[in-house]
Symmetry: C2
Subunit: 251 residues, 2 copies
């Protein structure tokens, strides 16, 4: 049996990204400046922050007028009412609003704290929203980078979310292009010849989690390249990882 080995490389030389920048070009520059030769089926994992910044999703808080609900919640829990207002505007509905924690379903369908609105790693007085359509962003980046490097690639755009029941946050896939986010083993046989009944693995989330290990929070490593993961080329999507409401026991 050949050795199964995966490598994850952090790419640190992406410059600070601003609205309107050609992110694919900046990513290509960073990859070239680190003399990283891309190979077919490399997976480029990108923290959503740089995507959001390029897409102009930084919001100046002074432009936001909070609603009554936002004012009240903010006062109660010592938050910035403008940030709370932004969270409510990004939300499709509220899942939990308890103990100062605001878990909502975003307009994309992600269930996470604060609708993904983020005030860390952004200039003072600003907040950063999730990309409007992370799958579209992933597809566009993939198209450009495949053209640029002449090899097949997959793209995963990520954000770190908390989880029920477990402490700590983990990186998740919110936008996917070029691979199927779920690997379905159902119907295949286990080592005892028994058909697997319930095994669907969220590989895009596992790839996102793996990439976070080289990204860190305080270092500026917004990109990683995962090599050696075998996958079938597919359009893929981050939306496919969202459990439909009707099957969900916790919304």
């Amino acid at each position: 049996m050949p050795r199964l080995e995966l490598s994850i490389t952090g790419i640190h030389s992406l410059q600070e990204v601003a609205k309107g920048d050609d992110l694919a070009e900046l990513i290509a520059l960073a990859i070239r400046s680190e003399k990283l030769d891309l190979l077919p089926k490399d997976i480029i994992v990108i923290t959503h922050k740089v995507v959001s910044k390029a897409e102009g999703r930084l919001v100046q808080l002074e432009t936001i007028i909070p609603s009554c609900l936002a004012e009240e919640w903010a006062k109660l829990h010592n938050k910035d009412p403008r940030v709370v207002e932004l969270i409510l505007r990004q939300s499709h509905r509220i899942v939990r609003m308890e103990k100062g924690i605001l878990i909502t379903e975003t307009k994309h369908g992600f269930v996470c704290a604060n609708a993904g609105v983020d005030c860390s790693n952004v200039p003072k007085g600003m907040a950063l929203l999730l990309p409007k359509n992370p799958d579209l962003s992933a597809r566009q980046l993939r198209d450009s980078l495949v053209k640029e490097f002449g090899v097949s690639l997959a793209i995963i755009i990520t954000d770190t979310f908390g989880r029920p029941w477990r402490d700590g946050q983990v990186n998740f896939a919110i936008g996917v292009a070029g691979l199927e986010g779920l690997r379905d083993y159902r119907g295949e046989e286990d080592t005892f010849g028994r058909k697997l009944e319930a095994s669907v693995i969220a590989v895009a989330d596992e790839l996102a989690a793996a990439a976070e290990l080289v990204m860190g929070k305080t270092q500026r490593i917004p990109l990683a390249c995962i090599r050696g993961f075998d996958f079938q080329e597919q359009d893929g999507s981050g939306q496919s990882l969202i459990r439909p409401l009707k099957d969900d026991l916790f919304r």
Copy 2:
């Protein structure tokens, strides 16, 4: 900046494990037979199945007499009542019992489907329970393997769980020894000099997820070695990843 690179190597030559086997010895054999030289701070990730098998956690279903509740639920949802009974016995309490899905809190505190009771990759007529004390198992394996190889190592024992809101399962850390499962960034400064407020990353879960990418479900790869992840040596524990009930909004 030096390149940050992580490698994950699947270790496939572990023999089928049986009750009473010295698992550390079998793991050492597998590692040596693949000529994998361990380095300080390598992290050995182990699927719980081989730990459970070595610890005699395989149960013959014919020895299990189902309770009324187990019989009823099994009948309603076309399950094996003996497996349902085992799930109930392994549970501390029921979190959801709906649509044929049984989410419970295990005696260890893990919230997962079927209390981790598993009928795949085990002989017919049997079911496999989680290790009784995965942290203790991890500590014992670590002690033996550190002695055997003469380098510092960390151990993570894993299981794949489903998640609310998202489809597909992901590998999680249920037993940890030798590293802190949570990486706490609170108080550190982001790239804009702002103090991070809410950033605690569940690195043990991310390492578990990363390892699954080389393990697969149908191949027999119960072990992986992760190299290049920088961590401080600590006792660590999988229990530290469980959110206390009082802070949980979804139990």
